[in-house]
Symmetry: C2
Subunit: 144 residues, 2 copies
DNA sequence: TTGACATATTTACAGATGTAAAGAATACTT
DNA sequence: AAGTATTCTTTACATCTGTAAATATGTCAA
């Protein structure tokens, strides 16, 4: 037996699908087929199969409206992104966050703007952390 | 046909293997089997199969020394980490780096130390970038 | 040389994934 | 009502992954 990449752990094809769903939900399979026709050129049945499998996995939900199946996402972008990051963090970096960011910075040339954004990001965090210093953290707005 | 997650794109099992190889290379399959016996409890033949597949995929190389097969990694940790990051960056974040870091910061509670490390990291980068400002970038020590 | 080990090779098999054709059902148009 | 377009359902199949038993083969100690 295998432990399938925990909660949302998407494959490349699944990422394509769910991104299209996020963009147009609630939506029918043919919508997604069209949406992806350009990049993927998948046949309707392909898209459909993928979507139904994703329903079984809990990434999407579908409900039948008369003759049609309507799909919606069952995970938010946030959740899916987080899962992807956790996967990388765990396997490629043994959960060490700093090295991960470091490698990320080396991964491609950053524009001054990006660097600035990042610095601001971190500084904000630091301010926050400092502010709520005396608190027993563990539960914040982690409702995603 | 399918485009297999470009260059090094490792599965969970493969990550386990290659990390063990990095730790002990050059090494024989039984070494790795032992090394992972604890966490994974894989049979020798399992480890062996995985390793040989990884050779075919170009993640490892092996050479026969008399009666034994010696394995080495064919990709560096850096390369593998980078590939993993690129995968996440591309699929989960549409190549937008800042959002990725942002999500990463929300992904778990960061210690003040970590935050400080991160800030330093970015500041260093910024300094570098500023220094070599007038250069036509595109080619640095990106030999990984 | 004969076992006993250590190591390698072959073969298997279930489940996941990528991809889709063909056939069935429903709805829309004229 | 018949034909056409739309959507769904079934079935298929190759490849990849996780997992390993069984078998063979080379090595070394007695």
């Amino acid at each position: 037996m295998k432990s399938p990449r925990q909660p949302p752990e998407l494959t490349e094809a699944e990422w394509a699908i769910i991104k299209a769903v996020w963009k147009r939900e609630p939506c029918a399979a043919p919508d997604i087929q069209e949406e992806l026709a350009g990049q993927k050129g998948w046949a309707y049945s392909t898209v459909r199969t993928l979507m139904d499998r994703m329903v079984r996995k809990g990434y999407l939900v579908s409900e039948k409206i008369r003759h049609m199946d309507l799909y919606r996402s069952a995970v938010t972008p946030k959740q899916a992104q987080k899962a992807e990051l956790l996967y990388a963090l765990k396997h490629a970096f043994d959960n060490a966050l700093t090295p991960m960011v470091q490698r990320l910075l080396e991964t491609r040339e950053l524009s001054p703007t990006e660097l600035e954004e990042l610095e601001t990001l971190i500084r904000e965090r630091r301010k926050q952390a400092a502010a709520k210093k005396p608190e027993r953290r563990q539960d914040h707005e982690h409702l995603d």
